[in-house]
């Protein structure tokens, strides 16, 4: 599974992309928790982040499939 971080989350995590084999994470919520376990600073951003699965916004209870691309997106500021 591919996990992407953008904006300030990328700074927090220190990289933009991780390839992870989170067999224990079956939802996006669990995936975020697993990332936060490796990088405790991330947990602070839980309430100000949305997630996407395969380039579509996805709710936290979305179930994951092998090969999914999940991204954690801070508030967007384009324009």
């Amino acid at each position: 599974m591919k996990v992407l971080f953008f904006g300030r989350l990328k700074d927090v995590v220190g990289q933009s992309e991780e390839s992870l084999d989170f067999t224990e994470a079956s939802t996006i919520e669990q995936l975020f928790a697993a990332c936060a376990a490796r990088n405790p600073e991330l947990a602070k951003y839980r309430s100000s982040v949305v997630a996407s699965r395969n380039q579509e916004f996805a709710s936290w209870d979305t179930r994951l499939q092998p090969g999914d691309e999940v991204a954690f997106l801070p508030p967007v500021s384009g324009g």
Binding site: V50, F57, S59, L73, S77, G78, G79
Partner: protein, 159 residues
């Protein structure tokens, strides 16, 4: 990926300067009578701190998908004929265009409404971020949290 009708739109993320004239020319068609444009460019200050420059980044594949969705809505809901919507990424200097939108329609009302809808929706839903650089540091700009917390549809039923 494309709408059923070929509208000949321009939907792009670029790293070079945006040339608004080319985009306006592109959407100008003889069956239309109105073009409305939005030119978003880099301000020289943020919250009264002088800005040096901005750096934009995007989740590019998803950003293009969301931009295409905006354009589809412009055609379907606003009756827009052609659209050009281009966002620049990378480092931008003060005064440089970061986003340019041009829409054409037979009449002005639809064009004004559609252009407003396009920039408002882009700023809310397209995954692009800007970092503001100042004399004494840099910060990620305050942004808008996309309305993504709604429940997603379950897997499509078998058919």
């Amino acid at each position: 990926m494309t709408s059923p009708l070929d509208h000949d739109d321009i939907i792009e993320l670029v790293r070079e300067p945006i040339d608004p004239r080319l985009l306006i020319e592109h959407v100008r068609a003889s069956e239309d009578g109105a073009i409305v444009t939005f030119d978003g460019f880099v301000r020289n200050q943020s919250h009264n701190r002088p800005t040096l420059y901005l750096d934009y980044e995007a989740y590019e594949s998803m950003a293009l998908t969301k931009m295409r969705e905006i354009v589809a809505e412009l055609h379907e809901k606003y009756g827009i004929h052609r659209v050009a919507i281009v966002h620049r990424l990378g480092r931008l200097a003060i005064g440089e265009t970061s986003v340019f939108i041009a829409v054409s329609a037979p009449h002005r009302a639809a064009a004004f409404e559609a252009c407003r809808f396009a920039i408002d929706t882009l700023k809310r839903t397209v995954p692009i971020w800007k970092k503001e650089y100042f004399e004494d540091g840099a910060v990620w700009a305050d942004g808008e949290l996309p309305p993504a917390a709604v429940a997603t549809p379950r897997a499509k039923p078998a058919s």
